[in-house]
């Protein structure tokens, strides 16, 4: 083992600990979140808040939030929020945006919220071309209620309501919601990101930025589906969440942009 000559000065106090990490948190976060260790949602939510700050639209941003673990995050988000019924966020957001077209209106939903209960609202809102930005936090399970199967649970995934793993004979197939939304004329920007690696985080942030920009440009509904880790609901160790997600979800839900105005112009 190589050694270096370090003289430790024991007579003066050490410098204060670095504050870099703390000051890097967006000022829109008011405190500590209470989500599980290894959960992907806090990262995704932070990216959204940073984006609103980067684009300078914080003072006209209104969120519409459904129900899921991310709901507890709302308490520390310094953003005006309507927390609505499970699945109904795009409909509520429609009412807000139509009356306040100058606002930046976003929705936050989990996969159980958007794809199970709220499938109708997301598809119709996209078809109507509502000028809102929808963020889907997709971890393939109902995390909040303890890990049951949702409409996006991948085949083979074990959940509390598909104990032997989801199989199509009994449970049907998962719904790729981003693809459905992208296929509708009223959507302007659709992408699928993840927060499982630093590279994916950086890419996802760019996607969120383009989605909100698409709303500012009036291109209709924008959707960013973000694959997030739920080690608790998946019953895997927290540290293995990212790898597990990469192996199980990403082959079914490929990361990338599905639709953008630039793609269409190209």
């Amino acid at each position: 083992m190589a050694t270096t000559d370090i003289t430790i000065d024991t007579r003066t106090a050490p410098p204060p600990p670095s504050t870099k990490a703390a000051s890097a948190a967006p000022s829109l976060i008011l405190g500590e979140h209470q989500l599980c260790p290894g959960c992907g949602e806090p990262v995704a939510l932070r990216l959204l808040l940073e984006t609103l700050q980067d684009l300078g639209v914080v003072d006209r941003s209104i969120g519409v939030v459904g129900h899921g673990c991310y709901g507890s995050f709302v308490r520390i988000m310094d953003i005006d929020v309507l927390q609505c019924l499970h699945g109904r966020a795009p409909s509520c957001a429609t009412g807000i945006k139509r009356m306040r077209p100058e606002s930046v209106v976003f929705t936050l939903q989990g996969d159980g919220d958007m794809v199970n209960e709220g499938l109708q609202e997301i598809l119709h809102s996209a078809a109507r071309g509502e000028n809102i930005t929808c963020i889907l936090l997709n971890n393939g399970v109902f995390g909040d209620t303890g890990g049951q199967q949702t409409a996006t649970t991948v085949l083979g995934q074990r959940t509390k309501t598909s104990l032997e793993g989801r199989n199509p004979e009994q449970h049907g197939y998962p719904i790729p919601i981003a693809d459905l939304v992208a296929s509708l004329q009223g959507s302007g920007y659709v992408a699928r990101g993840a927060v499982s690696t630093p590279g994916a985080v950086a890419k996802t942030k760019r996607m969120i930025k383009r989605a909100v920009q698409s709303q500012l440009d009036g291109h209709g509904l924008s959707l960013v589906e973000i694959l997030t880790m739920c080690p608790t609901g998946w019953f895997v160790p927290a540290a293995e969440g990212a790898d597990y997600q990469g192996a199980s979800m990403e082959p079914v839900y490929p990361i990338g942009e599905l639709k953008s105005q630039e793609n269409e112009r190209a």
Partner: protein, 364 residues
């Protein structure tokens, strides 16, 4: 004052616009459809938005969103569609968002639905039941006021007669007291200031401004409805002061009963009418007073007997109560059946009125 010949749905739409309603969303369903059509025709001209939603659930939630953003908003349907909206109506009650709901009902079988809810939680919906289009024009404006005043969902109990009949009507803006500014509404301007707002049923607030929490919020909401109950109950009595036979009826059925009561009075029968104008709060104390000296209370409603539960709760003597209504619907299932007919009502009232009153043992 010039009267304009208007279909009821158009008159109600004009009244809503006069009350500053600027957002409407609904899903077609007879006899609510003409109201949705009138709103879609007239809303844009008033600078508002009307959306033909893809379901009642979506329409109600769109209106909830527009209300949460601080605008006077409404939705509507009838019976089955209102059933789908009950989730949202309960949500609006518990998160304290004003929401006006037009139930252009097929008959009077939605009484429980409007007065007992069907969503979850300790809430009620202020429900006004106009007897005709002229009154519906007033009630519509009053409802927007009450919804804002109490930050609560409210219902107009209309029907196919109010929806489709044409009458000469004058839509005069009601002179109602000013209400405080909506400092709770979401406009985004508080985002990033440390004072951002939140609207939700659990009311747990933000980290730096903890709300009352579910227990505190739900108690507060329950207390609010308890306060509303005695002050917002409305009723009308016609020849009720000296009646031997008191008919209790609401909505269009009450208008028909009123005609019959006037006719019978003209012939010397001591018959009167008590009409609850608010179905909730039910004007119970007034009914108790009005039934103190009567020989019989005849409940006429076009259902199997729903309001009669409230009458039984409040009438001075339960044993005087008779039910003279019933389920009566046309063959399409959309409009009133043969019971809503003045000669039929007359016959049913007279059959009871002619009977000697049975004074139960023990009552002097």
């Amino acid at each position: 004052m010039t009267l304009e010949l208007l279909q009821g749905s158009v008159a109600i739409t004009r009244a809503a616009l006069a009350a500053d309603c600027r957002f409407f969303a609904g899903y077609p369903m007879s006899p609510f459809t003409p109201l949705l059509e009138a709103m879609s025709r007239e809303m844009a001209g008033a600078g508002g938005v009307c959306i033909n939603a893809e379901s009642e659930i979506e329409g109600a939630n769109m209106a909830l969103g527009a209300s949460a953003a601080g605008f006077r908003s409404a939705t509507g349907s009838c019976g089955q569609g209102i059933a789908l909206m009950q989730e949202t109506i309960a949500e609006a009650a518990l998160n304290e968002t004003p929401l006006v709901v037009f139930n252009m009902a097929r008959n009077q079988q939605d009484y429980y639905q409007c007065t007992r809810g069907g969503g979850w939680g300790d809430y009620r919906t202020i429900t006004l039941a106009p007897k005709d289009i002229t009154e519906a024009v007033e009630h519509t404006q009053l409802l927007f006021h009450l919804a804002d005043k109490y930050r609560a969902p409210v219902i107009l109990y209309g029907d196919d007669l109010l929806s489709k009949t044409q009458v000469g009507v004058h839509v005069a803006p009601l002179d109602l007291p000013e209400l405080p500014a909506k400092d709770w509404a979401l406009d985004g301007s508080a985002s990033g200031t440390g004072k951002s707002r939140q609207v939700w049923t659990f009311a747990m607030g933000k980290k730096n401004d903890p709300g009352p929490g579910p227990d505190g919020q739900w108690k507060r909401v329950a207390a609010k409805f308890a306060e509303i109950e005695p002050v917002e109950a409305r009723h009308e009595g016609i020849h009720a002061d000296d009646a031997e036979t008191l008919v209790v009826a609401f909505g269009s059925a009450a208008k028909f009963a009123e005609y019959v009561v006037e006719e019978l009075r003209g012939e010397g029968h001591r018959v009167g009418l008590f009409r609850p104008i608010t179905l909730w709060p039910f004007p119970g104390a007034a009914l108790a007073r009005a039934t103190r000296d009567v020989k019989r209370v005849l409940v006429f409603e076009l259902n199997a007997g729903q309001m009669i539960d409230d009458v039984r709760q409040w009438a001075h003597d339960r044993d005087t109560i008779r039910f003279i209504g019933g389920v009566s619907i046309d063959e399409h299932g959309l409009a009133y059946g043969p019971l809503l007919d003045a000669p039929v009502i007359r016959e049913r009232i007279l059959a009871e009125h002619a009977e000697p009153a049975v004074v139960p043992a023990g009552r002097s």
